[in-house]
Subunit: 364 residues, 2 copies
């Protein structure tokens, strides 16, 4: 800051005028203060998603020292729950905290950047995005829309869903109305399920009214908060549809590119920090929430029957082939994903899977 | 910054004198530019550890816009590989990137903040540190030393180690000279192993000279970089001693507390960001490194024999009881850890373990 600007600021401060509010000569942006809107798909303060979106907004504001102040809007406050993509592309908001597959209607390839059935765990996904070439592919998918996505964490392994009655075999799924998001829904359709994508904030009401027979949302922590155990008692594990689904910060690319480099850095680094914090938050709270669900609320934990997993795996291979064949870019994303997943599975057998087994054997 | 200070600075800058080196009147620190030293236990640019330490240093420098510039020193450049703790407590460096159990000689409880045998995976550990009360316990352990630790990521599941010949049962371990860090070493001693803690940069030489018969370091990526496959061909999995060991940023607490709040925030948030990036980096590179180890270098992957896992589990329970009984604070940390681990194991059975199994079953 030059002497002149400094004196001017002191004057403005003494006069009780916020220096930042006064337009300065170029480079005004570098010296000015911005306020950006962040819309979300989540109910206000929803555990995990809503709270971590708020933390991300606060983190950007704090690290930028208020040069970029982010104001959060819960689902429905500024735009509808699934209106975030249009809000950012239309300029109604600069930022959106959601998950890429909510916009898969715009580009099928977006499914991969949330995650697909029988896909990557959260650490594997972070590896693919940050170091496995997936960020560049993701940027390519979003380029025609003028937006960019940042990975901002994961719920970890999700749960399979809440059912009013036991699922003893794949036959029991036929004709069931199931709220399920993403390509897991496409897989379920092939198993005879009637699939709906109820917005997060309406899942409980849909279950209560019988609009759906069953629903998946996230995992013990979030599902407990939504009260799904009050309606259905059979809780199927694991959510093999979503082994490590990604949350995203969607950004207006043009406005992002126009930011001073330090504020771009703040958004990037705040996203990285949020990725760690969000995974930790979900992991810890799922760990804590499982016991009360079972002990206090009489929830019955169930593993999916083997024939459901097998049939879902077969159906997923068909769905994946269809999705990948849809357009060249989706095919390219699918190829990168498939190569990486094959290697990730090999390593997981010797590492994550083997260590969880050894932990049980050793501590038995 | 006042006018006078500003003119003085311009003068100093023109005169080629670093302003930060000149004592200024209070609150000089808030307005000045600082240069901090970060020592590490790692060889220069060692994959994973050395590179992520450098990224953390650069991240603090960038987010602070140079107000806090961090200069990295590899092992031996300023202090010896295991000299980081003393460097920070003596004031020779402000920061150290290492792992808490390297200082377990100062306080036994520090083992838990790296991780213990049959302990927490990386996401579970992050949950315990950030949201499970462990940061407060960690602060309590470090308080008498005037330092504070920040979690800065994990290698993910480590590998069990490199052996010149097959380990067909626990009996084959007896009398073996094994380089192994942490409480895994104490466990191994109970199995008749002769344990040494060779500094990271000297492991290859120790293996080559026969000073040790076997060694564990990190996992495929790091072990490949160290060339351990050139000496031993049997690679045991998983590293049940270290399911999700933590890296730490050790900070001089007094100097940290004297920083302006925004620079404290920068260190905290840079640590969080590094946690995500580091786990992603290790995960992706281990995934990529496994294949060349096997295909190009003829490495033989082996799971530990069941009796080794069982004997190690039994030995660990004894070691844990001894460690926890050592002093009141370690007992308190152990109790928090044990309660959390019991719940984490329950959730992992329905989530991480179940989903990795479903992935294999579904894609078979």
């Amino acid at each position: 800051m030059g002497m002149h600007a400094m004196k001017r600021r002191q004057f403005l401060r003494r006069a009780g005028i916020a220096a930042a509010a006064v337009p300065l000569a170029a480079p005004a942006l570098a010296q000015g203060r911005l306020e950006w809107k962040m819309v979300t798909s989540w109910p206000k303060n929803a555990p995990g998603v809503g709270i971590n979106a708020q933390r991300l907004a606060d983190r950007i504001t704090a690290l930028s020292e208020g040069r970029l102040t982010v104001r959060l809007f819960a689902a429905g406050e500024l735009v509808p729950p699934f209106g975030g993509f249009d809000a950012v592309t239309s300029g109604a908001a600069e930022l959106c905290h959601a998950t890429p597959y909510y916009w898969a209607g715009k580009a099928k390839a977006l499914h991969y950047f949330t995650g697909v059935p029988f896909g990557l765990t959260a650490p594997e996904m972070m590896g693919w995005i940050y170091f496995g070439g997936a960020q560049a592919l993701w940027d390519e998918v979003y380029a025609p829309f003028g937006v960019k996505g940042f990975y901002v964490g994961s719920s970890g392994v999700q749960s399979g869903g809440w059912f009013r009655s036991e699922i003893k075999s794949a036959a029991d799924l036929k004709g069931l109305k199931f709220r399920i998001a993403g390509l897991g829904g496409e897989v379920m359709k092939k198993l005879g399920v009637i699939v709906t994508l109820t917005p997060p904030g309406e899942i409980f009401a849909a279950m209560q009214s019988g609009a759906v027979d069953a629903a998946e949302w996230v995992g013990p922590w979030n599902d407990l908060a939504f009260g799904l155990h009050r309606i259905a008692k059979f809780y199927y594990q694991p959510g093999f549809f979503e082994p490590g689904p990604a949350l995203e910060l969607l950004v207006d690319k043009k406005k992002f590119d126009a930011l001073p480099p330090v504020l771009q850095k703040v958004i990037e680094q705040a996203s990285l920090a949020t990725a760690a914090e969000t995974l930790a938050d979900f992991t810890r709270h799922n760990i804590e929430a499982l016991e009360p669900l079972v002990r206090e609320h009489g929830v019955q934990l169930r593993l999916w029957p083997a024939d459901v997993v097998k049939a879902a795996g077969k159906a997923w291979k068909e769905v994946q082939a269809e999705v990948a064949a849809g357009d060249a870019l989706t095919g390219k994303v699918d190829a990168s994903f498939k190569t990486y997943l094959a290697k990730a599975r090999r390593w997981a057998r010797w590492s994550d899977y083997a260590v969880l087994r050894a932990r049980e054997d050793g501590l038995a």
